[in-house]
Amino acid sequence: MDRVFWLQGITCNGNSHSFVNLSTLPALLKNIEFIYHPLLESLSFSKALEQNFDILIVEGGIKRDWQRGGVEFEKLFLELASKAKRIIAVGSCAVYGGIFKEYDKEICGVLFAKEEKSHYFEKFKDKTINIPGCPAHPEWIAYALIYQKPHLDDYFRPKELFAYTVHAGCTRNEYFEWKVDAKSFGLKEGCLFYEQGCQAPYTHGSCNKILWNEVASKTRVGTPCFGCTEPDFIQRDLFQTKTFMSIPAKMPLGVPKRAYLTLTGVAKSFRIERLSKRLIDD
């Protein structure tokens, strides 16, 4: 049974709470044991520090002059990370530095500081798995706790979770295919990629495959994807699509601009009656 230490750096606690939403948590807790978790039953922080453990979960960004439990956080992190057999960086703060890096540039993640390698990269790259997201999805965290050697991408994210885009499985895909934009917020109809700033077509993540809280996702409730699993999270002007000559400035993942423009030209030359109306007429 793997013993897990859940360490918090500069964080809002969102990943701790997200993880508790795992509906199969009681079953998972038969296979792993938390010697420290900020919410779940576990030892006190100081007692947990004296214990041996297998997996270190890091939630939150890392910075030198920051305290946790009265100890300098970086020292604590280095000590625990060196001791751990495996490290899982959970949430975009632990992976890239995250949103609070916007306030303090010195904050970094375990292996990365935004797109750059962090100063801990060489030391821990062989035993770290990154599970970004703001917050990370509970099932992604459970996956990383159980699977020790998943295939990883360039940002050390498991491919089985992050090779997809958030766009995959979006219920608005038909509108994307035919380039029909959402006329406003608060509608079932229309794609949010053209006006509302949706980043799902170029954001790695399985939000529309492994649903949130088992029932939904941002795009399914009409909220644009904000790209929270990527190193450049959090960007600016989030509810607005950046355009260049009135086409989205950033292309769907791996799609050459010429291919996109050709397809758009064709799609837009047709008006699909069904997709231009409301789905449910009253």
Partner: protein, 401 residues
């Protein structure tokens, strides 16, 4: 002596000053500043809807809605009745999951009372799922936007939501039994017995003054002072800085007040709460029971709300970004949350947040002690003092936004 209290949504340093075995003073420091207000400055107005929830992993939804309301006030936008009802449903669901977590994972754990983790966990999962049905995910949704909500739900989601509410109601009844102080059963009885046997029923009495600054379909913006109710206004809220802590203290016309579930339940004339208060005043007993009572009460209100949604109303009413000010309060799990925004040239010129924990955990003076100080000073035992501290349901991350 300084103690670091953890597992309170982050941590706090609590400094107790003992004189001949008795706590004479207590000072709280929250060391972990994260700069949310600075991050917001200079950004597009609507970015607040993505950034503000990141103040807190457990009550971020209240922060989202406070941000949406503040922007609506600044822009002069209205929302539909449907959007209003849906927002209350998800906000109340967040409060419910918070209270269940706190009641069991904090209070029961502190008092070493065994509980059925599987059931408690299921209720937490379901309450968050209820939020996600409308908001897309929990935590950290951004579905409340200036002008309404992004979701365009159907009867399918409504049916799912009703089933979830019913399921949580059943679990809570299984766990807690009836709220009848003469015949407590199940976990409520266990809690009462634990407090009684450890001689804790009467500890933690504080100023017995309560404040609520927001108004919604459940509460009114009133304060209760010496049993008298008066309307409150955000105009009279004062922030005061304290050395060594990033948390500013908050007063209303020079006085400290308790905000949160107890304050809300005290204004509602509920026989269960009134009888507890008559007997135990604002001790930890009343404070703890009021909190879990609120979970049950809000669940009933969500059930009623679900029947009141008119799906033909718009979810979103177009709302233009214009310059202006928004100063609003909304009820979060721990009490009245305040957001204040100034929009200039369509950007956020200024953003400031006052969190409920700041009300309850201010550092006062000898003459004018804060809620926490009044509740703790005079105790002789650190363990008891820590329990009183936790009875306020502290949110460190909120306070050090």
């Amino acid at each position: 002596m300084i103690e670091i209290l953890e597992k309170i949504e982050g941590e706090a340093e609590v400094e107790y000053s003992f004189v001949s075995g008795e706590i004479k003073d207590v000072v709280v420091r929250f060391p972990h500043y994260r700069g949310i207000e600075e991050i917001l400055q200079g950004r597009a107005a609507l970015d607040a809807l993505v950034i503000a929830p990141r103040v807190c992993g457990i009550c971020g939804h209240a922060h989202l809605q406070a941000a949406a309301m503040a922007l609506e006030r600044a822009f002069g936008c209205k929302i539909s009745k449907k959007a209003k009802i849906i927002r209350e449903i998800t906000r109340f669901a967040e409060i419910i999951q918070n209270h269940i977590k706190w009641f069991y994972l904090v209070i029961f754990a502190q008092l070493h009372i065994p509980y059925d983790f599987r059931k408690v966990h299921q209720a937490i999962v379901l309450a968050n799922r209820l939020i996600a049905l409308f908001a897309g995910q929990s935590p950290h949704s951004s579905y409340a936007i200036a002008g309404g909500v992004t979701c365009d739900i159907t009867h399918v989601e409504l049916l799912q939501a009703k089933a979830i509410v019913q399921e949580i109601e059943e679990i809570l009844f299984d766990l807690l039994g009836e709220f009848d102080e003469k015949q407590l059963s199940k976990d409520l009885a266990k809690l009462f017995e634990a407090l009684k046997s450890k001689n804790l029923l009467q500890i933690g009495k504080s100023l017995d003054r309560f404040i609520t600054l927001s108004e919604d379909s459940v509460v009114k913006n009133v304060k209760i002072l010496h049993g008298k109710r008066r309307k409150t206004s955000l105009r009279f809220v004062q922030e005061r800085a304290f050395e060594g802590s990033y948390a500013k203290g908050v007063l209303y016309r020079g006085k400290f007040y308790e905000t949160g579930p107890l304050a809300r339940m005290m204004q509602m004339d509920l026989p269960f709460i009134k009888r507890l208060h008559r007997r135990y005043k604002d001790s930890i007993t009343t404070r703890i029971f009021a909190r879990i009572y609120e979970a049950k009460l809000l669940l009933q209100i969500i059930a009623e709300h679900l029947d009141q949604i008119d799906l033909n109303e718009p979810s979103y009413i177009p709302c233009k970004v214009v310059d202006g000010m928004g100063y609003v309060s909304i009820e979060a799990a721990r009490g009245s949350l305040i957001h204040k925004v100034a929009i200039k040239n369509s950007k956020i010129a200024n953003y400031s947040i006052i969190t409920p924990t700041q009300w309850n955990l201010s550092n006062g003076t000898k003459e004018n002690p804060s809620l926490l100080q009044k509740a703790i000073i005079g105790l002789r035992d650190r363990e008891k003092a820590n329990l009183v501290f936790r009875s306020f349901d502290i949110c460190s991350v909120c306070t050090t936004h």
